[in-house]
C-alpha cells in the first residue's frame, strides 16, 4: 500500500516536471532579432499591414552603404524617411531596386511586411536598448 502511494507520488512529480517543461518551452521567448534589423512602422499598423522588418545584413552583403544612403537618399534614422507605397511604386527608396528588375517587385507584400503587429519603429539590438535605465523619458501627449 505504502509503496503504491510512493509510486503514484513519483508519477505525479514526473508529470509535473513534464508539464512545467512544456509550459516553459511554450512561453514567449525574449526577442532576439538580428543586429541592425530595422522595424519600420510609421504607417503600416494604421493601414492594417504588418510592420516592415528591413534586414540590414542581407542588403549589406549585396550593396555597400553608399548605394542606399548616398545615391538613394535614405537617412540614417529609423522611420526618418517617411516611406510610403506611393513613393516606392514611383521608384523612390525601396522602389529603386524592388521593381522587378534589380530585385523582386512590390507585389510580394509579405516579404517586407513581415513584422509582428504592434512593434514600434526602431533598430534591433541598438546600444540604447542595451541600457539598463531608459536613456530618455517617454514623451507625454
Amino acid at each position: 500500500m505504502n509503496a503504491n502511494t510512493e509510486r503514484t507520488a513519483a508519477w505525479k512529480l514526473a508529470l509535473l516536471g513534464v508539464i512545467v517543461w512544456v509550459g516553459a518551452t511554450l512561453m514567449p521567448q525574449p526577442a532576439q532579432a538580428e543586429y541592425a534589423d530595422v522595424v519600420i512602422n510609421n504607417y503600416a499598423d494604421a493601414a492594417g499591414m504588418r510592420p516592415v522588418v528591413f534586414p540590414h545584413w542581407y542588403h549589406r552583403i549585396r550593396f555597400r552603404c553608399k548605394v542606399c544612403h548616398a545615391d538613394l537618399g535614405f537617412k540614417f534614422k529609423a522611420g526618418g524617411n517617411k516611406i510610403t507605397m506611393a513613393k516606392i511604386i514611383d521608384g523612390k527608396f525601396c522602389g529603386a531596386c524592388h521593381n522587378g528588375e534589380i530585385s523582386w517587385s512590390v507585389e510580394n507584400c509579405g516579404m517586407c511586411h513581415s513584422g509582428i503587429p504592434g512593434t514600434p519603429t526602431h533598430i534591433a539590438g541598438s546600444t540604447v536598448q542595451q541600457l539598463v535605465a531608459p536613456a530618455y523619458k517617454a514623451l507625454k501627449k
Binding site: 512529480l13 538580428e34 553608399k66 548616398a70
Partner: protein
Amino acid sequence: MKNTIKKITLAASLVALPFIVSAADSQGGSLMMAATTAVSSAEITGSVPEKLSVSNANVFNRLLKKEKDPNAAPPDDGYHDPANDATTALQPPKVAYEGLPTTEFGNRVDWVKALDSGKLNPRYDRQDPDVEPFVMDLDIVRPVKASVPDVVFPHKPHTQWLHCSNCHPKIFVPQRLSNQINMSAIILGQKCGVCHGKVSFPPTTKSCKKCHSKEKPANWKPPLSEASVKNPWR
C-alpha cells in the same frame, strides 16, 4: 524454510536494486529538469522562485539581459511574424554568414575583414557591379582626456563602404579637432553612434580597442580632478 525465503527475498532485492536505483535516478532527473525549467520560466517572466534567493531584490545578475541566439532565423527571432506566409521564404542570417570572418559583437560578422579578404564584394553602384569605390587611406588620431588609449579613425574602411557626403559635413566637420565627441553621445546615437551601435560594430566592452587603439605615451598620467587638488583636507 524461513532462511530460504529470506535468501530468496535478498537475492530478489539485489537483482531489483539497479532497477530501483535507476528509477530513483530518473525521478531525480525529472525533478532536476522541473527545477531548471522553473528557473528558465522565471527568467522569462521576471519572477524568482523563493528557494533561489533570500528576497526577490537580491537576485544574482538582476539587470543583466540574457542573450538568446544572436543569429536566429526569421520565424524564431521574435520580430518576424511566424503567421506571415513569406516569413519562411526569408533567408536565415546563419546561412548567409557561412565562411565569413567572425567577431563577438553586432552581427557576429567582421564586415571590414570580410571585404578585405575578398569574401564579400558588395556593389558600390545600384546597377553596375564593376564600379570601384573611391577609397581614401588617411588615419585621424584623436587625443582622449581619459586614461583609455587615444582614438585612431581610419578613413580607409569607411570609404570602402560609404561616400564622403554620408558623414561630411553634416555629422562631422571635415576639420581636425573641430568635432566634440564623447561616448555618451555615441551610445545615444550621435556622431559615430549614428552607425556604430545601430548597424556597424557597437561600442561594447569587447570592442573598445577597435577605436581606442593608440597607446598613450609611456610618461602619460591621468590629469587630476581640480576639485580634489583644491581640497587641502584630503
